[in-house]
Structures are given as C-alpha cells and as structure tokens.
Amino acid sequence: MRFDFTEEELNRYSRHILLQDVGVEGQEKIREGKVLVVGAGGLGAPVAMYLAAAGVGTIGIVDGDVVDLSNLQRQIIHTTPDVGKWKVESAKETIQAINPHVKVEAHREFLMADNALDLVGEYDFVVDGTDNFPVKFLINDACVMAGKPFSHGGILRFEGQTFTHVPGSACYRCMFKSPPPPGAVPTCSQAGVLGAIAGMLGTIQAAETLKWLTGVGELLTDKLLTFNAKTMDFRKIHVKKTDKCPICGPNPSITELIDYEQAVCDLKNHG
C-alpha cells in the first residue's frame, strides 16, 4: 500500500481514518476501489454522492437518460439547472464538485445484454440503482457470470429492499426466478415513491459498498433487508442460495444474458 495521502486528503478523510476499523489502510482500499453505479436516479444519486465523498478512486456511472423535472423530487445529484442535461454529465459535475480526487467514468448508455459484461468487468463492485425488473435481472446475471459482487436495491411507494451478493452467496434469482410480466408490477414512474426513501435505501447500498471495499463488518449477504417507511419497520429475511437457481446453481439453464421486455410506460420514463 502507498499511504501517500496529502495533508488535504488526510483532513478530508480524517473521520474515516480516525475509525479503528477503517484507518489509513481502509482509506487506501477505498481510494483503490472501482465501483460501477447503474442508474443515476433515485438510488444512484445518494450512492454516487456518498461514494464520492468517501473517496472511492473510480466511480463509473451508466445511464442513457436526461434529467427530467419530475426526477428532482428524489434524484438529489441533479439540480434544477440540470434539467435537460445527460444524467451522467450532471452526476459527474456534482461528484467532481464534492470530491475532485474521484475519477468519474460516464457511460452514456443503458445497461443491455450486449454491453453488461464489458461494463461490469471493468469494476470491482456494482451497485444496482435501477428502477425496472429487466435491468435488475440483467445486473444479477452479468455479475454472477463475471464473478462480481453487487448491491441490489429497489424502492416503491414507501417501501425498499436491498441485499448484497458476493460470489457464492444467494443471488437475485435464488429469491425471484424471473421478472414479472411487463406491466404486472408498477414501477415508481407509475405508482409513485416517497423521495426520501431513495436516500434511505441508497445510503444503505453506499455503506455496503464501503464495507465491501474495506472488509469491515458483515455484509447483507444471504439476507434481504426490507423496510416500510410508513411504520419504519425494518426486517431482515434470511435467504438461501439454491442449487435450483437457473444462474448460480451447479447446472445453470441461463448461459447468456437476456434483455427482457419492458412495459411501454417504463421505456418512456427511465429513471
């Protein structure tokens, strides 16, 4: 390890360095980290901002959409003057204003079956900040195939759920076999979402990412954390990796990535 932090960096990261479990060693691991955030929306915003503030060395952001006025109720990485800009550009500007030490890799495209493995392969850890089932399954499948750890996150109305996958632990398909039919489950763009819960869930994902980078504590592996902000009940549901899993089981039936069909409404309202 280099431990060649400048006076400015020591001051900037002092509250991490003071932590016994993080220290200079942990901060160095954070600086060496390469994290891919898929989606610069409600979840991706707090994730990218906290990872930037924490000093993650390289942050990749994938999003092919532009900032819409209706995004600003929860996507706090974008501001009113950003409406109409590419989300990856707007997100990059905010990240660099928070922490100029971070290298931002802006991928102005949507994650699809034909680019997922290449994108995921360039990073150490992946964060799912997307709003639709087809991409959630795609992230899962690509990460399992590439042997990459990732944080799953989903929010709707007043509720959120998240788990962390590392190679060998339960994956999304161990819990949910395949996406629901298009239109069967509403997305935020149809059902609404309380803006603040994007922050509640995204910051949990950011904390999991930093825990993975530094090796501190116990990850949300083989556990699905759910919460309901109406009652502020948090639950941890134990989940198991299953041999019948079509992607991470011993005899996988899925051997290539799939672009599942999306509901038409979702295609018009990415993010």
Partner: protein, 74 residues
C-alpha cells in the same frame, strides 16, 4: 526494530491523531514511534486513542515548555 519520530506540535485535533495513525500505518509491526506533541488536547487524546486502537503506549515524558514526547509501539 526501527524507531521513528513525528512532530505534531503544530497540528490540532483531529489531525494530531490522524497523522499519528498515518505514521503508524507506514511502520512495521514492533517498530516504535516517538511523537512530539503539546499539552492540552493532543497530550490527552493521542495516547488514549492509540491505546484504545490497540497500540502499546510505552511512555509519556516532558521535553521542554509545553512539548511532550509520547512513545508508541506498533
């Protein structure tokens, strides 16, 4: 087993302990660090924090004026 020195008499909390931790991280296990610091907050906090975080505080001695030397083993 090497002995290292660090002068944090011009620094303020929390940079005093942050710089001590950086120096300790750069040293080998068993090495000794002599830290020059001023009385008040640094003298109260640095040895206490070092002990809390698992380092061995070998001694604290007065050097001159308000400067003290804390010896810490990694």
């Amino acid at each position: 087993m090497a002995t290292h020195t660090l002068d944090i008499t011009k620094d303020h909390c929390p940079m005093t302990f942050v710089k001590t931790k950086l120096k300790l991280a750069q040293m080998a296990q068993g090495d000794v660090l002599e830290v020059l610091l001023t009385d008040g907050e640094p003298l109260n906090n640095v040895p206490r924090s070092a002990a809390e975080q698992g380092y061995k505080v070998l001694g604290v001695e007065h050097v001159e004026g308000d400067v003290h030397k804390v010896t810490i083993q990694k």
